[in-house]
C-alpha cells in the first residue's frame, strides 16, 4: 500500500489512487486537508481542467493537479505553501472576472463553492475593468432544470454526469475559449430520471432545479440525515427543513447504497409529506354509514369495539392483517406481534411495484419490502384470496398499497367486510369502505430503521413533526392492542426499545438496531452464513 505525506500527515492509500482520492478515502478532504476543487467529483471521471486543486509535490518542478496525480509510495505533498495559495488565488480571480457577482439574487448563495472559495482565496476588490461576458439567463434545459450561463464556471461536472451516470448525454460544451458554453444538443432536452443531480453537483448557481429555486434561502435550512422511501433502494438523503417543513431532498453520500445520487422521482417525493391529502384526523363510520372525523382516542376505542365484537362472535381467525412495505422494521415487528397476539393466521405485506433500472431505481416502490420479508411476512395475496373466499370478516390494513398492487380488482371487494380498519398517512380509496381510519406518520416524521433491497438496515430519523395528531404505525397498533387487552400490549411504543427487542429476537437482525447501524447502515445477517457480512462502517464522508 503506497503511503503519502500530506502537510506532514502520513496517509496510506490503495494502489493507483490520485492524491484527491487518497484524501477523500481517508476522510480528510476539506475536512482537515483543504484542497479546493471544482471539476473533480468522487463519482465522475477526472477532468483536470479547473486547475484549482494544484498542490506542490516534492520532485516535481511545477505544481501538480491533485485530481490527476497518482500517488507514488513516499510521495510528499504540500497543500499550504505560498505557491499553492497563489495558484488558487489565480484560479479564483480568473473565474470571477466574467462572473455576474449576483449572489444577492442567486439561489445558490450560501451553498456556493465559488462564493466559499472567493471568500477563502479571493481579493476584496476586482481588478478587472473590462465588461463582463454576457450570456444567456434562465435557459430552460428541460422539465426539471434551469441554467444560468453567466454563472457557469465550465467545470463540466454536469456534462460528465449525463455522459457517465444516466448515460443520456444531453449536454456538451459548445464553442471554445471564453465563448465556451454548456448547452443541450440541438433538439434535445435535459430529461432523464436523474436529471436533478446536476443541480447538486453544480458548484455554483448555474444549474438550479425548478422545484427548489427561490423557495427559501438555504441558510435557513437545516439538513437532517434521512432516507428516501420512494423505492426499495433506500437512497441516503438530507432533508432540508425549516420551520417544521421539508423543502427538499438531496442525496447524501453512501457509497454502499446510492454513491452521491438519487432519482428525480425520489427527490420530489418530499412533496408527499405536507401534501393536502394527508390525513388530518381519525375517521369513524357512524351509525348512518357516514365516515366522520373523530378524535384519535375515540377512533381507537371504536376500532377496538368492532374487533372485540368479531372476536367474541367468530374468533380472531376471521381477522386479516395487511402490513405496509413503507413501515419501518420496528412498525412491522410490532405488527407481527399484534397479529400473533390476536391469534389470526391471515396476514401478509402489500408491496407496490413499478419500473426499475440498473442504476438506483428498484421495482419495489416501498422502502422496506425486504425488511418485511426478513421478518417473515408473506405476500398479501394470501389475504386477498381469503377475503375472496369469504373467510374473512375484518381487515386491519397498514397503508393503502393493498388497493394498488393488483391483488384486489377494486376497493368494492372489501365492501362486504364487517370491519375495515386502516392505518394510513394519506387519504385513499379506503374512505369508501373503511370503518375506522387512523392517521399515521410519514417516514420523515418518525424514527426507526428500514431494510433496503440489498438487505441493508438503515437509520430513519424524525426530521419534522406532523401537523396533526398522528403516530407511527407501531404506536397505533400498540394503542389498539392495549384497547383490545392483547397480552404484551401496554399502549407504549418506545422505538429504540422495539428496535433492540427486534435485534434480540430475529437472528437476521442480530446486533442490528437503530443505535448500531451508524450512518451507512448494516447488512442483514444471512441466516445461512454464520458470520456477519460486514462490520460497522466508518463515518460517512
Amino acid at each position: 500500500m503506497p503511503t503519502l505525506t500530506v502537510d506532514g500527515r502520513v496517509i496510506e492509500t490503495a494502489e493507483g489512487k490520485s492524491i484527491l482520492e487518497a484524501l477523500d478515502d481517508a476522510g480528510l478532504l476539506m475536512n482537515g486537508v483543504d484542497v479546493p476543487h471544482y471539476c473533480w467529483h468522487p463519482k465522475l471521471s477526472v477532468d483536470g481542467s479547473c486547475r484549482l486543486c494544484q498542490v506542490e509535490v516534492e520532485g516535481f518542478p511545477k505544481l501538480q493537479i491533485a485530481c490527476n496525480t497518482v500517488v507514488q509510495d513516499g510521495m510528499v505533498v504540500n497543500t499550504t505553501s505560498d505557491r499553492v495559495r497563489k495558484a488558487r488565488e489565480g484560479v479564483v480571480e480568473l473565474l470571477l472576472i466574467n462572473h455576474p457577482l449576483d449572489c444577492p439574487i442567486c439561489d445558490q448563495a450560501g451553498e456556493c463553492k465559488l462564493q466559499d472559495y472567493a471568500f477563502d482565496y479571493g481579493v476584496e476588490k476586482s481588478r478587472t475593468r473590462e465588461p463582463r461576458r454576457a450570456a444567456k439567463k434562465r435557459v430552460d434545459l428541460g422539465p426539471t432544470i434551469v441554467f444560468d450561463q453567466e454563472r457557469c464556471i465550465l467545470c463540466r461536472r454536469c456534462v460528465r454526469f449525463c455522459d457517465e451516470v444516466p448515460k443520456t448525454r444531453e449536454l456538451a460544451v459548445f464553442g471554445r475559449g471564453d465563448r465556451s458554453v454548456i448547452e443541450t444538443f440541438p433538439g434535445m432536452e435535459l430529461d432523464n430520471p436523474y436529471s436533478m443531480n446536476v443541480a447538486d453537483i453544480c458548484p455554483v448557481g448555474a444549474l438550479t432545479t425548478k422545484d427548489f429555486r427561490f423557495k427559501i434561502r438555504v441558510w435557513f435550512l437545516e439538513d437532517v440525515e434521512g432516507l428516501c422511501t420512494g423505492c426499495a433502494n433506500g437512497c441516503n438523503i438530507y432533508l432540508g427543513i425549516a420551520n417544521n417543513k421539508v423543502y427538499r431532498y438531496q442525496p447524501r453520500r453512501n457509497d454502499d447504497v446510492n454513491e452521491t445520487w438519487m432519482c428525480d422521482a425520489g427527490r420530489l417525493s418530499y412533496r408527499d409529506i405536507g401534501a393536502p391529502d394527508r390525513l388530518q384526523y381519525a375517521y369513524v363510520r357512524d351509525a348512518t354509514g357516514s365516515l366522520e372525523a373523530a378524535g384519535y382516542e375515540a377512533a381507537i376505542g371504536a376500532a377496538a369495539r368492532r374487533l372485540r365484537a368479531i372476536i367474541g362472535s367468530k374468533g380472531a381467525g376471521v381477522i386479516a392483517g395487511v402490513a405496509s412495505a413503507h413501515a419501518t422494521n420496528e412498525d412491522l415487528f410490532t405488527f407481527r406481534r399484534f397479529i400473533e397476539a390476536l391469534g389470526t393466521e391471515t396476514s401478509g405485506v402489500a408491496v407496490p411495484k413499478g419500473d426499475a433500472d440498473d442504476l438506483l431505481i428498484k421495482a419495489e416502490k416501498a422502502a422496506n419490502a425486504a425488511g418485511a420479508r426478513a421478518l417473515g411476512l408473506g405476500d398479501a395475496s394470501l389475504v386477498a384470496d381469503r377475503i375472496r373466499s369469504g373467510g374473512i370478516d375484518a381487515l386491519v390494513c397498514l397503508g393503502s398499497d393493498f388497493l394498488g398492487t393488483g391483488l384486489l380488482a377494486n376497493v368494492e371487494e372489501l365492501a362486504g367486510l364487517d370491519t375495515v380498519i386502516v392505518l394510513d398517512t394519506h387519504k385513499s380509496e379506503f374512505s369508501r369502505v373503511a370503518h375506522v381510519i387512523l392517521p399515521t406518520r410519514h417516514a420523515a416524521e418518525k424514527h426507526g430503521t428500514l431494510t433496503n433491497a440489498a438487505g441493508r438496515v438503515q437509520r430513519l430519523r424524525a426530521a419534522v413533526e406532523p401537523a396533526y395528531e398522528a403516530h407511527p404505525d407501531g404506536a397505533v397498533l400498540s394503542h389498539l392492542g392495549k384497547a383490545l387487552g392483547l397480552p404484551g400490549f401496554d399502549g407504549s411504543y418506545d422505538v429504540r426499545a422495539v428496535s433492540k427487542a427486534l435485534a434480540e429476537s430475529e437472528p437476521a437482525f442480530s446486533g442490528i438496531h437503530l443505535d448500531s447501524v451508524g450512518d451507512r447502515g448494516r447488512v442483514l445477517i444471512d441466516p445461512d452464513a454464520s458470520q456477519r457480512d460486514r462490520e460497522p462502517e466508518g463515518p460517512n464522508l
Partner: protein
C-alpha cells in the same frame, strides 16, 4: 520553378526540381535508400539509438530529443502501436512544413517509414490542417504512388515490414497542433488537449501507444540513417544539431524560407538571407520562433538561433518562424493581434487559459484604444504569470510568453499609450 536560395542544405537541396515531389524523381536522388537500409539491415533499436545519437530535436516547437521520444514507446505490445505525423502547422509565422509537404512528400514518407519501423508502428496518421489543401493533395498523391510501388502496404520495400498511412485533414483549430489535441481531433472528438498522464506513448490515438512527430522532424531522419549521426552533428551546434527551415516574414526585403544550420545568428538570417529591413527603416523587434515565442528587441539579434542560446534571452526557437517588425510597428498593436489570436484559439478547458486569454486581449485592446491605465501593465504581467505553467497543455504558456516579451522589451510603447491616451503610431488603426 521554385527559387531556392543557395545555402548549405539537404532537406531542400532538390526543391527547385518539381520531379523531386514524385516517387521516381525522389528515388533518382537517392530516395528510399535510407528506408531500405533501416528496414533490411538495422534492428529497430539500432535506429532509435542512431537517432538519439544524432541529437535530432523535434522541429514542432518544443525541441525534445526525437530518439528519446521514440524510446518511450513500449517495445513489446499486445496492441497496435501508432505513429502520427503532425502536419497541423498552425503557428502564425511558421510555413516550413507546408513547403516540405508540397515539394517533398516522399521525403516525409521515407522518414515516416523509418520511424514506424523503429517504434514498431503498424499505421501512421498524417494529420494535415484543413487549410493545407494543396499540400494534402500532394501527400495523398505520394501515398498512392508509394502503395502502388510497394513502398507502403503489407511488404514495405520487400522487407516484410507492414505499414499503412492514413491521411487525415483537420478542420482548422490551432489547438489541434498540440499533440493530444490532435489525437482527440483525429478520433473525431472536439480538439482539446488531454491531461497527462497518461502520455501518448502509453495511451495515444484510439487508446494505443502512439508517437507524434512533426513533419520536418521526420524529414531529417532519412539523412541521418544514410549519412550517420556524426555527419548530422556536423551542422548546427553541439546541443542543437542539424539544419532547420527558418521562415522569415514581416518587414524584410526577401521574405521566405531558408534552410540553415541551427545556431545561425538571427541577425544573419534577417539582414543577409532575408535581405534586411525593407524601405531603409530600422528594425524594432523580431519574434524568433512563431507567434507564441517572446519577442527580441533590435539590440539582441546577434543571438544564435538554437534553443540553448535563445533561452538565455528569455525566448525559444519554437517552429523557427521569424517575424520581423520595423520601427513603425506599434508593439501594443502587436499585443492586440497576438492576444486576440490566443483568445480566439484557446480550447477553453482550463480556467487560466479560457479566462486569462480573454482578459489579456481586452486589456491590450483598451490600452491601444487609449483607455489604458498605468496599473494595467502590472495586471497584464500578473495574468500572464497566473497562466504560465498551470494548465493541461502549453497553450496558456504560449499565450502568456508574448505578453511578457512585449512588456519586457517594449514597455515604453505601452507607457506612451497610457500617457497620451491614444496610440502614438500612425500605422496603427482603430480597433
Amino acid at each position: 520553378m521554385l527559387k531556392v536560395p543557395h545555402v548549405t542544405s539537404y532537406l531542400t537541396e532538390h526543391f527547385a526540381e518539381d520531379a523531386f515531389g514524385t516517387l521516381a524523381g525522389y528515388e533518382k536522388k537517392g530516395g528510399y535508400a535510407a528506408a531500405r537500409k533501416a528496414l533490411t539491415e538495422m534492428a529497430p533499436g539500432d535506429v532509435i539509438e542512431l537517432v538519439k545519437a544524432s541529437g535530432l530535436q523535434g522541429r514542432g516547437g518544443a525541441g525534445f530529443n526525437t530518439g528519446l521520444k521514440w524510446s518511450f514507446m513500449p517495445a513489446d505490445s499486445d496492441v497496435p502501436k501508432y505513429l502520427v505525423c503532425n502536419a497541423d502547422e498552425s503557428e502564425p509565422g511558421s510555413f516550413k512544413d507546408r513547403i516540405l509537404l508540397e515539394r517533398s512528400p516522399h521525403q516525409l514518407l521515407e522518414g515516416i517509414l523509418i520511424a514506424a519501423y523503429a517504434v514498431g508502428a503498424c499505421t501512421t496518421f498524417i494529420y494535415i490542417r484543413g487549410e493545407y489543401s494543396f499540400p494534402a493533395d500532394q501527400v495523398e498523391r505520394a501515398v498512392a504512388e508509394a502503395y502502388d510501388q510497394g513502398h507502403l502496404g503489407p511488404n514495405v520495400l520487400g522487407s516484410g515490414f507492414r505499414h499503412d498511412v492514413v491521411v487525415h485533414r483537420g478542420a482548422g483549430a490551432y489547438i489541434c497542433g498540440e499533440e493530444t489535441g490532435l489525437l482527440e481531433s483525429l478520433e473525431g472528438k472536439k480538439g482539446q488537449p488531454r491531461k497527462k498522464p497518461p502520455f501518448p506513448a502509453q495511451v495515444g490515438a484510439f487508446g494505443m501507444p502512439t508517437t507524434v512527430n512533426n513533419v520536418e522532424t521526420f524529414c531529417h531522419v532519412p539523412y541521418i540513417v544514410n549519412r550517420g549521426a556524426e555527419w548530422f552533428r556536423g551542422f548546427g551546434t553541439e546541443a542543437s544539431p542539424g539544419t532547420t527551415l527558418f521562415g522569415v516574414s514581416g518587414h524584410v526585403v526577401k521574405p521566405g524560407l531558408f534552410e540553415l544550420p541551427l545556431g545561425t545568428p538571427l541577425s544573419e538570417i534577417v539582414f543577409e538571407h532575408a535581405g534586411g529591413i525593407a524601405g531603409g527603416r530600422k528594425v524594432k523587434g523580431v519574434i524568433p520562433g512563431g507567434m507564441s515565442m517572446p519577442i527580441l528587441p533590435a539590440g539582441q539579434l546577434d543571438v544564435p538561433m538554437a534553443n540553448e542560446s535563445l533561452r538565455e534571452r528569455g525566448t525559444m526557437l519554437g517552429t523557427g518562424g521569424i517575424m520581423v517588425m520595423d520601427e513603425t510597428t506599434c508593439m501594443v498593436r502587436v499585443g492586440c493581434v497576438i492576444s486576440y489570436f490566443f483568445r480566439d484559439e484557446s480550447c477553453g478547458q482550463c480556467t487560466q487559459c479560457r479566462e486569462g486569454t480573454g482578459w489579456l486581449n481586452k486589456i491590450m485592446n483598451r490600452i491601444e484604444r487609449g483607455a489604458g491605465q498605468s496599473e494595467d501593465l502590472g495586471v497584464l504581467l500578473d495574468i500572464a504569470a497566473k497562466m504560465e505553467g498551470q494548465t493541461i497543455c502549453a497553450f496558456a504558456d504560449a499565450a502568456a510568453w508574448p505578453v511578457q516579451g512585449l512588456l519586457r522589451h517594449f514597455r515604453a510603447d505601452f507607457e506612451e499609450h497610457v500617457r497620451l491616451g491614444r496610440c502614438p503610431f500612425t500605422a496603427s488603426f482603430e480597433l
